[in-house]
């Protein structure tokens, strides 16, 4: 087993751990945190994919690479890194929104029990906007 395979396995284990925690916890705050674990695992998967052939950052200075390709031919792949940068920003903002909404809910019901939040509100037939 190569190092890449072993790391890939670890990343997938982290994804699964996040998913299991997401399913198991009854507390909304812990669910949001579990999703963050999954999200971090996905980010590390992309970093791992970028580094599968090499670790040296491909940077150009003018028209010549900073690191001589003769010395080190194994560059990292810039595409997955560029892509995951977008996903990190999106994941961060989604996380912020989720935590904000959780805070709003916690004002009323500090236990944040998902089963309780899911109970339908007692309402008359004409309720709702």
């Amino acid at each position: 087993m190569t190092a890449f395979r072993a790391l890939e396995l670890l990343v997938l284990l982290a994804v699964l751990a996040g998913l299991v925690a997401l399913l198991r916890h009854r507390n909304l705050f812990l669910k949001v945190l579990a999703m963050d674990v999954t999200s971090t695992a996905v980010i590390s998967l992309f970093v791992l994919i970028a580094a599968r052939d090499g670790l040296i950052t491909p940077i150009l200075q003018g028209h010549s690479p900073v690191v001589d390709p003769g010395v080190a031919a194994a560059y990292a792949d810039p595409i997955p890194q560029a892509v995951i940068l977008t996903a990190i920003v999106i994941g961060f903002s989604v996380q912020a929104l989720l935590l904000l909404a959780t805070t709003l809910l916690a004002h009323r019901d500090p236990t944040l029990d998902v089963a309780e939040l899911d109970l339908p509100e007692p309402s008359g037939p004409g309720a709702g906007p």
Partner: protein
Amino acid sequence: MNPITIAWLLLPLLAAFLAALLPLLARPAVLLTCLGTAAMALAAQQSWLPDSLQLLGPLGITLQPDALAAPFLLLNALVCAAVLLDGWGRPRSKAWPLLLLVLHGSVNSAIVAADLISIYVALEVVGIATFLLLVLGGRRRQVWLGLRLMLVSNTVMLLFLIGCGLLYLEQRSFALFGVGQASGLVLALLAVALLTKAEVFVAGLWLPRTNAEGPLDVSALLSGTVVSAGVVPLLRISAEAASLLPVLRWLGIASAAAGVLLALLEPDLRRLLAWSTLAQMGLVVILPAVGGLSALGHGLAKAALFLLLRRIPDPALAGWRQRPLAPRLWWPLMLASLSIAGLPPLLGFLAKDQLSSQLPGAAGWLVTAISAGTVAVYARIWGPPLSALRAPPASPQSAAAAGASATDGAGAPAGATLLVAALVLLSASPWALPLWAAMDRQALTGAMLKTASVFAAGLMLHHLLSASADAAAAAGPVSGPTSDPAAGTGAALPAAGWRPQLEGLDELLGAIVLLAAALLGLLGWQP
């Protein structure tokens, strides 16, 4: 022509920034962008623009404003405009038209995007905009609904991202055409995310509660446009990956059957419409070639129904037939529901006809049976009598209802009327004309006969069900607390206990994980 496409994609987002600075301009800006999108839809349908354009090189962004995207673009334009027109006179939060602009723009991007990362980004923006629209009222229930939706959608988007990463590992590209040679794991991960976004089968179970308890204009947007953001990428992927097609077909049929069955048992009108969305989205993914037309017909009609529902004070189906409706509500309601049921010459008829004639063997018969079920579902809302203009109300109860509706919906339902008018007029548009022309006299007669028998079967089913519900109501105590003396006449009201509770957050997440595992099993075995 590339600058035109790019300018059109950027327009809603720029307009949203402008609207934040000058709130007065927000509503005209929404109408303008909707008009632009409608023009773009026509251009895409007539292929006046290049079908595919690539930005930033071969690994960059791919856009495909092609004939597949055209009906969805038109749907997005019409539904957004109608939702805006419907709420024109009401005081609104300043952020509302702004969010509508962002939603419109991001759905546009999701429809035309043809590489996985652009699809991912567009779908995330759609999710965030939907969440904010749901939460905007600030009531506790809405916050919970929005949070639930966001948690589910972000979880599936993480699965989508894992699929993208693994695809890049195999193909060294995020382009959509690489999906054809992808492994079963990648396909399963991508498909489960898009199925959740498109509200198909168990992955779409978040929909009914969101629709029933959220604001109704957001429900109209959800059923009309947000689903198309998930469906179009799904159709694009299934066009590339042949192994996904049979799986999607049976999943779609299962979704349609389950949706129709649950809608037949549902005592609440809003939830009935939501279950019907589940069924119709199932029909959309069955056959990618007809998907655009079905989605257009269904989206217009369903958004119109949700907008009309806002002017109807009581969503319970029990006693529905005793409450008369004003003509300005009655006509759009009938036309929209008849279109979904498939009455010629409305748009829904063409979609249903194409679907059942192009499907081979058993699947075709199943779809015909499901159409009959759909007729039975909508027969439940065809009951109410047409109240005469300014007629004196018959009983104190209906007087209260009429008073409530008069204060609730003063003026004609502009949005719903627009959608229904589009539904009727579009049967003579570039989308439908070639299909009409392709049918000779014999095929047309056959289709008419088939529709007539489907309607007869559906109405019969409806009468059987309502008769058995009446018998149950007469024999034993009516299950569920109902203050209405007319309960049980129009609705089979099942006890809440025996129906499985599938709509909690944990059940939703579990269902999605199970669906992913099932897809993985199905797709992984195929060579």
